[in-house]
């Protein structure tokens, strides 16, 4: 027994020492590595931690790890699945260094003085931005925001089951064509569904005319009551890849993914116009680490980082060269009509923020869904 005990103690000690040694050596090599590559991030940026708040499944697989390695910093990522969810957290006083909200939400954050201007000297890569996504109305000279992804909203349809002539003739109204009853995915958000209805009726999607909104409400209600639509958000991707339905209102980036995975599917942008949307990186006013935030934004706008993002997610890059390469000859999305956004079409609009209208639409939307 005694003998055994000695053995055990010796073993534990040796294991413990082995650990101590490896710990020493690894920490040594780690320090040496970072100092050799870059300056001490704390001296340079004031901190070595960046808090990023982004959409779920919206980044290339190695974006964060590459940035961490290159700059010797640590990135804490949190995810949101709607602009409103993000806004609620920001309003509650949570602090992040970089957010990636959509156009109208950037407008609202600006109206609340919740953002700080970008340090353009730290972000030379702003010059890489694609023509169509620069200087949009919500931030006319990109003082506060650096676009991340952009695109349109259109209809994905199954070529075998949907007559393209119906789509071309009826536009969005194809969603009310009794031929396709029970075969429809609608996008479950008041913003996108009212866009469809208002565009189909020939109105602006930013209207605040009560009669027009009422008409759009009736349009959606009729669709709800007669067509048995299913309202989804991200589930639309799997649903259409599996061919569960024949028609779906889809964001262009998701459409890119669907078309890559299921060759029966095609993408159609109605002539009545659509929502030309963009998501952009911004720095909140209460960011603890604005310097590192600017560095991160600059990093995302490099060719490699932008390429990685667009490759992994399928959304259109805000980087001109990446966008051209991906949609051009030999590019990953060469033959994918959903990837390249429609530019300069007069009936396409950028969504504007209007809190009163939003509340009203949101209420009408829950009523649309709850009727029948």
């Amino acid at each position: 027994m005694k003998h055994n005990l000695k053995k055990i103690i010796a073993l534990t000690l040796s294991i413990g020492m082995a650990f101590a040694f490896t710990a020493c050596s690894s920490s040594n090599s780690g320090d040496a590595g970072t100092t050799a590559q870059t300056e001490d991030p704390i001296a340079k940026y004031g901190s070595d931690t960046l808090k990023l708040y982004n959409w779920g499944e919206y980044m290339g697989d190695t974006l964060i790890s590459d940035f961490e390695e290159q700059f010797g910093v640590q990135v804490i990522v949190e995810y949101f699945d709607s602009n409103e969810m993000m806004y609620t957290k920001i309003q509650a006083g949570d602090s992040y260094d970089v957010l990636v909200p959509s156009d109208y939400m950037i407008q609202r954050l600006l109206e609340n003085n919740a953002l700080q201007p970008l340090d353009k000297e730290m972000i030379p890569n702003l010059s890489n931005l694609a023509e169509g996504v620069k200087n949009l109305p919500y931030d006319p000279d990109n003082t506060y925001s650096a676009p991340y992804f952009w695109g349109t909203v259109g209809i994905v349809y199954n070529k075998n089951n949907v007559d393209i002539q119906d789509l071309e003739k009826e536009g969005y109204a194809v969603l009310k064509n009794p031929k396709y009853k029970g075969k429809i995915y609608m996008y479950d958000s008041e913003r996108d569904s009212f866009m469809v209805a208002l565009k189909s009726l020939g109105y602006s999607m930013n209207t605040d005319n009560e009669a027009e909104i009422e008409e759009a409400y009736q349009w959606l209600k009729e669709l709800n009551d007669t067509m048995e639509p299913i309202y989804v958000t991200d589930e639309v991707i799997d649903g259409m890849i599996n061919g569960n339905k024949d028609l779906a209102v889809v964001y262009s980036g998701d459409a890119t993914t669907i078309l890559q995975e299921n060759e029966d599917m095609a993408f159609f942008l109605p002539n009545e116009g659509t929502n030309l949307w963009s998501d952009a990186m911004v720095i909140p006013a209460n960011a603890e680490n604005p310097k590192l935030a600017n560095e991160f934004i600059n990093y995302v706008l490099t060719y490699d980082a932008s390429y990685g993002n667009s490759e992994a997610v399928g959304y259109t890059s805000s980087h001109q060269q990446v966008m051209d390469d991906m949609s051009g000859e030999g590019g990953l999305y060469e033959s994918n009509p959903a990837y390249l956004p429609r530019m300069g079409y007069e009936k396409d609009e950028v969504f504007e923020d209007n809190t009163v209208l939003k509340e009203k639409l949101s209420e009408l939307w829950i009523k649309v869904k709850a009727s029948n």
């Binding site: 958000s189 299913i230 989804v232 589930e235 569960n244 709850a370 009727s371």
Partner: protein
């Protein structure tokens, strides 16, 4: 005993900070609305009158009650025999059965509900099996799917409650009953069942309340077009940003729940008197 009273203070503080204060805030929101620059908010009944004046909201409330009641009934019908079998099985099997029932709850509820989506959807496993048998039925996005999801998620609460009350029961009462000439059915109906009622009632509370207010089960299994009262509240807070109306609906729910708790309490105390009599 008295010195232990002090130990309740941390809990009292916890309760007041985490339950009473939020409750008061909900009440405050429910009875106010955003005002202008002079008065930031004012008192109003508007949120409530808006809810009750619109037939759509009333229908949503009815539908939610209907789903919750059906779910609870199915949980009792399926859960009682399961609990009964469990309580009367061998000690060794009891552990195994208990494990089988609690096992699914180790996995996150959301993940389990997503799994059902895969099983029920068009071209999903169950749908394909039924189709190959010649039955072309839509499973996902129906009442059936929502109720199935709720029963599946909440039935462990019912089984465990009934099981506990059955195992706590004094077995000598059963022996006495059969000594006095009662057959098995009579034993069950006149001794076992009345004594297990408290378990059934607390099971009802534990199933009915979440079934009434769940919003992600109807959202996932019913599709976005399936709107229950929980979904309305969620949308008011998260997308509409109308916290006042959302709070008003929450308060209406709270009142309904309080009334149902009061009724179950009544039944329970009545039962308690009977129990007292049998014990005498």
């Amino acid at each position: 005993m008295r010195q232990f009273k002090n130990m309740a203070y941390p809990y009292m503080i916890w309760i007041s900070v985490m339950i009473v204060v939020p409750m008061l805030m909900i009440i405050m929101y429910a009875f106010t609305k955003h005002g202008n620059d002079v008065a930031t908010f004012w008192f109003t009944f508007e949120n409530f009158s808006y809810f009750f004046s619109d037939i759509i909201f009333i229908n949503v409330l009815k539908q939610s009650l209907y789903i919750a009641v059906v779910t609870t009934l199915i949980c009792i019908v399926l859960g009682y025999p399961a609990a009964y079998i469990m309580a009367n099985s061998k000690e060794k099997n009891k552990v195994l059965l208990m494990l089988l029932i609690t096992f699914p709850t180790w996995i996150n509820m959301l993940v389990r509900t997503y799994a059902w989506m895969g099983i029920l959807q068009d071209n999903g496993i169950l749908h394909n099996i039924l189709t190959s048998l010649g039955l072309e039925i839509k499973l996902l996005h129906t009442d059936f799917a929502v109720i199935l999801g709720m029963v599946y998620n909440f039935i462990p609460f019912m089984i465990l409650q009934i099981y506990t009350s059955l195992t706590k029961m004094d077995k000598s009462l059963l022996e006495a009953a059969s000594d006095l000439g009662a057959d098995k059915v009579q034993c069950f109906l006149r001794v076992t069942f009345p004594l297990s009622l408290p378990g059934v009632i607390s099971g009802i509370t534990l199933v009915f309340l979440p079934a009434m207010s769940s919003f992600f089960i109807p959202k996932l299994l019913g599709g976005g077009q399936y709107v229950l009262i929980g979904n309305v509240i969620e949308s008011q807070f998260l997308t509409a940003g109308n916290w006042n109306f959302g709070s008003a609906i929450s308060l209406i729910m709270a009142v309904i729940i309080m009334i149902s708790m009061y009724i179950t309490k009544k039944i329970e105390s009545k039962n308690g008197i009977e129990k007292g009599r049998t014990a005498n």
